[in-house]
Symmetry: C2
Subunit: 110 residues, 2 copies
Amino acid sequence: MSIAGDLIRGHTDAIILARLMQADSYGYEINKIISTLSAGRFELKEATLYTAFKRLEEAGCIASYWGDSGAGARRRYYTITPAGREASHRLLGEWRETKQIMDKLLETEE
Amino acid sequence: MSIAGDLIRGHTDAIILARLMQADSYGYEINKIISTLSAGRFELKEATLYTAFKRLEEAGCIASYWGDSGAGARRRYYTITPAGREASHRLLGEWRETKQIMDKLLETEE
DNA sequence: TCGAGATACCTTGACAGCCGAGGTATCTTG
DNA sequence: CAAGATACCTCGGCTGTCAAGGTATCTCGA
């Protein structure tokens, strides 16, 4: 991975929820979307992803159901809950704030 | 802290090195500068900060020396090394990349 | 003079998230 | 029927954060 995992640590939930705001999805697909959108530079490891799913489901942010697979093994789909939408919105706000502050702290030449 | 620590996890080193690129400094001061520049929304805890100093010194990115204090207790000043400058530059690049990718992953409305 | 408060540094142990490694099951295709 | 893609899951180690607690120095006011 070109970008160290710790750089996205703490953003994992935000990324997953943002995906589920678009549409229901499942682990394997979310992983590929992230990889595609980031041109391969972000890559959530499976263990990380499933840990996050479990965490988010326990927190009531997402719910899951077994769905049909077009091809391949069975899929566990995740859908976002109202609490998840709220969390997603909050996390997006936090990201924007983080971005501003980090820029202030790192970009010293104006 | 309004911004969870995990959000800046992985950026701590970059923040510290960026500070030391400006001038030699010491723990207590760096902490206050970060707090000030972020309007109190980022706040590295002391334990975190000193852990980071130790890590960066062992990695050869910074060096330290005891300096005079104008008022108060003795201070351990840190200065950035050539390796630290390199690391700082690299981390800044990674931050810019992270920012772009995160925006792609989170900001869905164009 | 002496105690409070600011300055300043440091360590320990608990905790949480990331991930390497390994495992299971299903479906398609040759 | 074997190989490879799809798809899910767990365990254990590692690393960074932080609450809590500790030490020492200096200033200033009562």
